[in-house]
């Protein structure tokens, strides 16, 4: 048997996707299994602005053995307990989609059922915040990492990070290079395919250098230099459900308080993000060219900043959807080359992480094995589609009549999976997390209630407890959470004492 093992891997493109991939490969494959190379050009700007993440990034850091404090300092990072959504359900409304669960399941019945029964029709987002420590702490600008406190919610604080994506890429570059990844500086002029198999053979750089490999990872961003331009993987266009196709981003000076959450504010033809970092705030306006103009979108962004703009606004174009094949022949697309889902629920970094993790699971041993590739593509498609449905929910579930985008998304037909999920919730407030979809029932509950979808009835299983008992236990949960929050320092305090970027000493 000839040895068809992968001995050389070339990651094409740096940026967040490229360096995250490099770091994992360097850590898990070590360099004696395969040589790992990355080619990038300093001339090509990366998209990375201020990035927000979700708690799964903790697994990524642990896999790499990254010291969290060191990483937060190095990337001007801050902590994130959830996302505040402003003006989404209707103008003037706001709610928090927090990390971590609401309340506590009791008698084998989910907390949501008791919540809906007890509060009957009289509840709003503020009522919900009282049952989730992350939401309450976010409202009060507090943060700390979980501590060992037995049954207290303080033992289970769920969090993620905001950080500067270019600093993050730099941080992971250092990590990867220290573990033997070879970096090549240069711009790619052509991609050459094997005349019979169609596999990628090598890429050529402007100075004539040729870089070959057994496995290529396409991290070239929207362009999809390998996966699309060379291998023609095809693209599933979702813009009929997610019509935003542009963004304009700008950093600004910090505000008074360092909030421990991302904010997303719905605008007339899109929405604006606000990501607080230690040294500045990342802002961006995601908008739809079918519903407004670049001039108007930029004006909205620039007139809604907390402080002075620190740069000129940068413009981006994209198309919601994903590559029909994420993995084709000997090339795997990771990051924006794989697909684009707007950063409304901070899933970009997670999709990179999850793509690399799946690549590791299905890593080719002797030659490329079609069942492995098929499974990679099937599972990744499923993951993209479920995130897509959750994002569509935010657009679809609104009662706004002030602008065309919102009227359009309110009335558009949505995927069946989402229709069923909403119908099931509307009937008796039930949510099932299926097949390990990324967003769990807490997330669906937060957004559905937050944007005004009220179940007609509560789940009758809540009747297993008497109304008096439920009332007493819910009061107890609210009190425990309120007391727990008072033990938490403010977000600024926590950062100053634990991971102030000004104290960063590169290793």
């Amino acid at each position: 048997m000839t040895d068809k093992r992968v001995r050389k891997i070339l990651i094409v493109g740096g940026g967040t996707a490229g360096w995250m991939t490099a770091a994992v490969l360097a850590k898990l494959l070590k360099n004696d299994y395969a040589d790992i190379h990355l080619v990038e050009s300093e001339e090509i700007g990366t998209v990375g602005v201020g990035e927000a993440t979700i708690p799964q990034i903790g697994t990524f850091n642990r896999t790499l053995g990254i010291d969290e404090t060191d990483f937060v300092k190095a990337t001007q990072g801050s902590f994130k307990l959830g996302i505040e959504f402003v003006n989404w359900g209707a103008l003037g409304e706001r709610y928090i989609h927090p990390f971590g669960a609401y309340g506590l399941d009791m008698d084998g019945v989910s907390f949501h059922a008791f919540f809906l029964k007890h509060h009957a029709a009289r509840y709003g987002p503020e009522t919900m915040d009282q049952y989730n420590l992350q939401a309450l702490a976010a409202r009060q600008n507090r943060f700390m990492r979980p501590v060992n406190a037995g049954n207290s919610p303080l033992s289970k604080i769920a969090y993620a990070f905001h950080f500067d994506a270019s600093l993050y890429a730099r941080y992971l570059r250092k990590y990867s290079e220290a573990r033997g990844v070879t970096r090549h500086e240069g711009k790619i002029t052509s991609v050459s395919l094997h005349p019979e198999t169609g596999y990628v053979q090598h890429v050529q750089l402007t100075d004539g250098r040729i870089l070959d490999a057994d496995l290529f990872v396409d991290c070239t961003g929207f362009r999809g230099l390998l996966i699309e331009q060379a291998l023609k993987a095809g693209y599933n266009d979702w813009s009929h459900w997610l019509p935003c196709d542009r963004a304009v981003a700008v950093p600004c000076e910090n505000a008074e308080r360092l909030t421990p959450y991302t904010r997303s504010t719905a605008r007339e033809a899109g929405w604006q993000w606000r990501i607080p970092l230690q040294h500045r705030i990342g802002n961006g306006h995601v908008w739809s060219s079918a519903f407004t103009t670049e001039e108007r979108a930029t004006e909205i962004l620039m007139s809604n900043l907390d402080g002075k703009a620190l740069d000129a606004p940068r413009h981006l174009r994209f198309l919601a959807g994903h590559r029909k094949k994420f993995w084709e022949k000997n090339c795997v697309a990771i990051g924006l080359s794989a697909g684009f889902i707007e950063p409304l629920e901070s899933t970009s970094i997670h999709l990179i992480q999850s793509g690399v993790a799946k690549l590791m699971q299905m890593f080719p041993s002797g030659g490329f094995n079609q069942p492995d590739i098929d499974r990679y593509n099937r599972v990744t498609t499923f993951e993209y589609e479920r995130i897509r449905d959750f994002i569509i929910l935010h657009y679809h579930l609104n009662r706004r009549d002030d602008s065309e985008l919102w009227k359009y998304t309110q009335n558009m037909p949505v995927p069946d999976y989402l229709t069923d999920k909403m119908a099931l919730f509307e009937s008796h407030g039930r949510i099932f997390r299926e097949n390990e979809e990324l967003f769990n029932d807490t997330s669906w509950f937060a957004v559905m209630i937050g944007q005004g979808l009220k179940p007609r009835d509560y789940d009758p299983v809540a009747d297993v407890q008497s109304a008096e008992e439920t009332a007493a236990r819910l009061t107890n949960i609210r009190d425990t959470i309120a007391t727990s929050a008072t033990y938490m320092p403010t977000h600024e305090q926590f950062i100053e004492e634990n991971c102030d970027a000004r104290t960063y000493v590169p290793a």
Partner: protein
């Protein structure tokens, strides 16, 4: 205060295991002071109750009902089950255990068996894969003790289920349910009345003329499927081209030795035979395909190979493997044999009843019967049923046995979902739990390897660690599992101490 739409009356048609499992769970979890539960059964109708072996989720189900495990075991003549020994399934003389619980432990986020495969390829002495699974080793040595809550111990990896007498289990749950207000009506169901406007079941008519009305009906009438099949005409999806077994003969025999803590499944020329040890006797049965074997020969094979004197005449069962097109139709939910049948090769019958009623409670309708709850129930139940079907087909497909019957199953076409799974494993030893399926990676690994599908290569991720370092760790696990298993009390000692059942009175 309950909602005005809360169900007033749930009627369970049929007792037996399905009926009483449903009654017990509903009485515990829908105890809202509003919904009444009635179960109609007739002592004249014999229950099938062959599914006497179970899988680990049953312990969780019993705990959910607040049932004390020691009392339950005593009342049902139960023994511990650590897995299934498959004898002769790959070829005559071969045997392997499909145990509960995991093999070894992951090293560097890579599955243990990948290292085992690699070391084996390097010619290291790594023994059999089952030497790394505590439940398998405990089964080999006929020992048992419950898992240790401390996750750092090998003993924490112990996983188990039960063998029990299904009739005693039904009787036990009947007492449980009646104590929680379930009303039992003795009577034979003569007719099912449908509402003319929408075809919903409005009442059951009993042979003596009584009529029982209800909002929600649960069909536990077994193969007869009086409500879902006969009255409502929901069709049956036939899977016998993949799982051609259609007959079984069951017989109880005298206990002649201490009960084994595992089920045994022995391949036969046109099917297989089960041996299920209880505290007071042994259950035996021969499952076969009548196209390849007649009843008389099947009976001879069964009686010639049981240990201990038979206690009953063999009873005959006929079935068609498959499922109802819908498990929940209008206001009728089918549980147990009325919803479908899969042979008890992996002891899933009782699990499907439990899973069905738990799902029904999670999606309990109200008097308005919103279709979304029904649709969700059907989608989820059917998915799990089909995934289990694939797992069963694997046992027949991956074999070296010959003869007319085995030649057929070895060469038959299989569902794509299964073909993909086998191919992923065969090439690189990869396994993925497909969505929310019942059988996880360790189960598939066990049966795939046991049935002779050895991966061509191990996962390259296993190459990140030095072979000699891994060899030492693997050896350490092997010794720790062995030592832990040998320190356990014997299965019989455990039973005597924890839950000895009374001698049955004949």
């Amino acid at each position: 205060m309950n909602s005005p739409h809360t169900l007033s009356h749930i009627v369970i048609a049929g007792g037996g295991t399905a009926g009483w499992v449903a009654a017990a769970a509903l009485s515990r979890l829908t105890n809202n002071g509003e919904t009444r539960i009635t179960l109609v059964e007739s002592e004249e109708i014999r229950t099938v109750g062959v599914g006497e072996a179970t899988i680990p989720p049953i312990a969780m189900f019993l705990r959910l009902l607040g049932i004390d495990l020691s009392e339950f075991m005593r009342e049902t003549q139960a023994t511990i089950k650590l897995g299934i020994e498959f004898e002769g399934w790959l070829r005559e003389g071969h045997r392997y255990i499909h145990p509960f619980g995991d093999y070894g432990r992951d090293i560097n986020a890579v599955r243990f068996y990948q290292y085992w495969l690699k070391l084996r390829a390097f010619g290291k002495d790594v023994g059999e894969i089952e030497e790394y699974c505590l439940a398998a080793m405990a089964a080999r040595h006929q020992r048992f003790a419950p898992p240790d809550p401390d996750p750092r111990t090998v003993q924490s990896s112990m996983a188990y289920a039960f063998h029990f007498d299904a009739a005693l289990y039904a009787a036990y749950l009947r007492r449980y349910s009646e104590a929680r207000g379930v009303r039992r009506v003795e009577g034979k169901i003569a007719d099912v009345t449908l509402r003319s406007e929408d075809g919903y079941v409005s009442s059951l008519k009993l042979a003596d003329g009584r009529e029982i009305e209800g909002d929600l009906f649960i069909d536990c009438t077994g193969f007869r499927a009086l409500l879902i099949g006969k009255a409502m005409g929901v069709p049956y999806v036939d899977w016998s081209h993949w799982l051609p077994m259609n007959s079984a003969l069951a017989v109880q025999s005298e206990r002649v030795a201490d009960p084994l803590p595992y089920t045994r499944s022995t391949a036969r020329p046109a099917g297989w035979q089960w041996t299920i040890p209880l505290q007071h006797r042994t259950g035996n049965g021969h499952v076969y395909c009548s196209d390849y074997m007649n009843d008389e020969d099947a009976g001879k094979i069964l009686l010639a190979s049981i240990s201990g004197r038979p206690l009953t005449a063999p009873s005959q069962l006929r079935f068609t493997t498959g499922r109802r097109a819908e498990f929940w139709s209008r206001n009728v939910v089918a549980l147990g044999l009325s919803s479908g049948f899969m042979e008890p090769l992996e002891s899933t019958s009782i699990h499907f009843i439990q899973a069905g009623v738990t799902k029904l409670i999670a999606l309990l309708p109200d008097k308005r019967f919103n279709p979304i709850e029904r649709d969700t129930y059907n989608r989820l139940s059917i998915m799990q049923f089909e995934q289990t079907r694939d797992f069963l087909i694997l046992h027949y497909k991956a074999t070296e046995r010959t003869g007319p019957f085995w030649d057929y199953v070895r060469n038959m076409d299989i569902p794509d979902t299964l073909a993909q799974k086998i191919e992923l494993f065969r090439s690189n030893g990869r396994l993925f739990r497909f969505e929310d399926e019942l059988f996880g990676e360790a189960n598939w690994q066990s049966v795939l390897m046991g049935q002779g599908i050895m991966p061509e290569r191990w996962d390259p991720m296993a190459d990140a660690l030095d072979v000699n370092v891994v060899a030492k760790q693997v050896q350490g696990i092997r010794e720790a599992v062995r030592e832990t298993a040998l320190r356990l009390p014997t299965h019989q000692e455990f039973l005597t101490r924890f839950c000895a059942a009374p001698e049955p009175v004949d």
